[in-house]
């Protein structure tokens, strides 16, 4: 997939990375259809968040379509259109 990667302070690049995998039975993979920029992205981009490291993928406010779900997911089905809660991940 393509991803917006943070490579350092104010150093962003759209790069090709591996596709995400279902690692946890409660995981769902969402194909992003639209994404927005949040005010807190500025803190991330400008290097104010100490837990950031080069290679981190940005973007946490988005909508999309469920592409795959784990065994433990009950409230979603493949093809559902969803809004993603930004606090996870």
């Amino acid at each position: 997939m393509k991803a917006l990667c943070w490579n350092g302070v104010r150093d962003l690049n759209v790069e090709r990375v591996d596709d995400p995998k279902l690692l946890n039975p409660k995981d769902a993979i969402v194909k992003v259809t639209m994404s927005s920029v949040c005010g807190s992205d500025l803190h991330l981009i400008n290097g104010f968040i100490p837990s950031m490291q080069a290679g981190d993928i940005l973007g946490h406010e988005f909508i999309g379509e469920v592409a795959e779900i784990g065994r433990g997911v009950q409230q979603l089905a493949v093809g559902d259109r969803v809004v993603v809660v930004s606090v996870i991940g």
Binding site: A3, N24, Q53, G89
Partner: protein
């Protein structure tokens, strides 16, 4: 009306303040120029501080008296679970390490008493103490404190309320008393922001654990090139 001043400067610090203040003031007066005015003011301030044993600046920084001040961590959050369930989870203090990583383990000794172990990152040491539940109002409040002889005197309290529409609002306070007064307090204050950040993050993990049953993570998922740059923690 007479107002009593609570001393917040210890005797040694008082003497040092006095001496340094007097020296600064003396130097400033000896070659009095426009530039030496700030030094004169600072020297004067130190002398007053030394003389009275009271320092408004120290007070403003949080040192209210000569006793070692507690470090208080507070958190308020709403979790989407009924009050009974949230209370029940906290009442069993052995559950705390499930969301607070700095706690290695909490073992229940009996209904009221428990044994706590924390691992100090970096130095690889362990700190252990016994704690006792001192307040317990079912579905309302739980309070505990370390029993005598703990290296880090500490206490905690959690209050539970119904959130407006659904779920539970919880208010958490953890207090730690740094080992030694004076220097110990200074060192503790210095590391306070880091310490506070870590503990607060851990406290908020409670919401994840009680609602999702685990702490969600992106660990193991793809990322861009890990060049190792900018990695702080």
């Amino acid at each position: 009306m007479e107002k009593k001043i609570t001393k917040n400067v210890g005797p040694v610090e008082q003497a040092v303040s006095m001496a340094l203040g007097a020296y600064m003031a003396y130097r400033a007066i000896r070659n009095l120029r426009y530039r030496s005015v700030p030094a004169l003011v600072a020297g004067g301030y130190l002398m007053v501080r030394g003389g009275l044993g009271y320092c408004p600046v120290s007070r403003w920084l949080g040192k209210k008296d000569l006793g070692s001040p507690a470090i208080n961590l507070r958190a308020v959050m709403t979790v989407n679970k009924p009050r009974e369930e949230v209370y029940g989870y906290w009442r069993n203090l052995t559950n705390l390490p499930s969301f607070m990583a700095h706690l290695k383990e909490v073992v229940e000794i009996d209904e009221r008493r428990s044994h706590w172990v924390i691992e100090t990152p970096g130095i690889g040491g362990r700190i252990e103490w016994d704690a006792e539940v001192v307040k317990d109002e079912p579905n309302r409040l739980i309070g505990w404190q370390s029993v005598n002889g703990a290296a880090i005197k500490n206490a905690g309290k959690v209050e539970f309320d119904d959130a407006p529409r659904q779920g539970t609002e919880i208010r958490i306070v953890f207090s730690y008393h740094p080992p030694a007064g004076g220097l110990g307090t200074g060192v503790a204050k210095l590391f306070m922001p880091v310490f506070r950040g870590i503990i607060e993050d851990e406290i908020f993990n409670f919401k994840r654990v009680i609602e999702a049953g685990e702490i969600p993570t992106t660990k193991g998922q793809p990322a861009g090139k890990r060049t190792g740059k900018f990695k702080l923690i």
